[in-house]
Amino acid sequence: MRLVAYAGVVFLAGTLLLIVVLVARRSFLRRQAKVRGELVERLRPVAIAFVDSQEPEPAPELHGRESEVFAELLGRYARNLRGAAWGRIAAYFEETGGVDEQLGRLQSRRAWRRATAAFTLGDMCARRVVPELVAALDDRVRDVRMAAARSLGRLGAVEAIEPLIASTISGGVPRDVGGLALLDLGPPGVPRLVELSSSTEPAIRSGAIELIGLLGEAGNAEPLLDHLRDPAAGVRTASATALGRLGAGEARDALVRALDDRVPDVRAAAARALGQTGGQRAADALLPVARSDVFEPARAAAQALARIDPRRVVEAAVEPDAGPHLREAADLVSL
């Protein structure tokens, strides 16, 4: 029972200790923040002048904490910028050893250090780190892979397109970040994607096709037409979506045929795509789908029709068999 009393005292003592630590920490951090704030204020104009693309000013000689703050400012500005400032930012980070430091951290045993390093390298604008970042795309930790993908996109590392495509399609890198990085890298990735769209794995085919829709242009539509008849529904859906994004007029007939697909998601994707390609025949085909198909395809068809031919939607909506989606689309048209 005496133990109980001791325990009570221990808990109270522990509480007091925590409070002391909190108070001390607060004062310490406050002082630190003040010092840092002053540094930031002083170095901010220097950093901005440094990154200016037209009349830049040379980098200052900095050490210790000043150098850290300046580097952080540069990183922040780099994140918002495109263009000429990059070369200078990269040069600065090279000269001050920042790039090497981060490359070292990229090998750390701790995943968060690797991820932070991979991310930071993207803000240092130094192209020479691309091979290391590509290697990081195979890291066993997802966050590291994601940070590497993001940085490769930021750096405009067109040479990394293939591994980036592979990671994004396989799911090693989250689709949103990987897709954006590829979008930043642009059309050079398309040929590889076209190759992958013939893969034996349906998941790879659909992933590649989705990306073609984002990165490609009207000329890339042709091979996708065949994929509208792919045995895998996911691939057919991806093809329809991609064709819509590419705005390919020649796909119209194939898309109209896809409105009869037995899988609702495919029909919905085809309807959406027709809304983007347009045309009278498309409108004719969309109307019955909008009237009587199940929820998703009917909805997509009604909205697609509203884009192509708003007047027709309004007319069709007053008929007794119009269905809820045409009526909704008609109301939205007159909004």
Partner: protein, 131 residues
């Protein structure tokens, strides 16, 4: 044509963004290029400054607190005094629907983030040069 403009030495540009870094970059580049820059940190401040100072051009971020860039654009267009003020929208939202929304609201141009301050300057010059 905003009356105050003709009396100014340097064209006046209003820059609005809640991100300090962007404001710094934009202000620096435009000032170096011979413009006077007013800064606002949210949509409400942007509208107030626009009404009071009648700038020659406005560069607006879309995602701003209080009143967003689209709404600021709409209100500027709705007001007689500012209805012909050129407006450039600046934003990270870069999908086609967002661009369209910007133009529908009445913007004259749209610049995606990350951006090149130099390109911004060129567009500002192009618009104001015409006047």
């Amino acid at each position: 044509m905003s009356g105050a403009a003709s009396a100014r030495e340097q064209p006046l540009v209003l820059a609005a963004d809640d991100d300090e870094d962007i404001l710094d970059l934009v202000a620096f580049r435009l000032e170096r290029s011979g413009y006077t820059v007013l800064v606002a940190r949210d949509g409400e401040e942007a509208l107030k400054l626009a009404a009071k100072e009648l700038p020659d051009l406005a560069v607006l971020d879309v995602m701003m607190p209080k009143v967003d860039g689209f709404e600021v654009t709409r209100r500027l267009r709705a007001d007689e005094a500012t209805s012909r003020m050129p407006i450039i929208l600046l934003t990270a939202r870069s999908q086609d629907a967002d661009v369209q929304q910007g133009f529908d609201a009445g913007a004259d141009d749209y610049l995606r983030k990350p951006f090149s301050p130099d390109e911004l300057r060129a567009r500002v010059q192009a618009i104001l040069g015409r006047r």
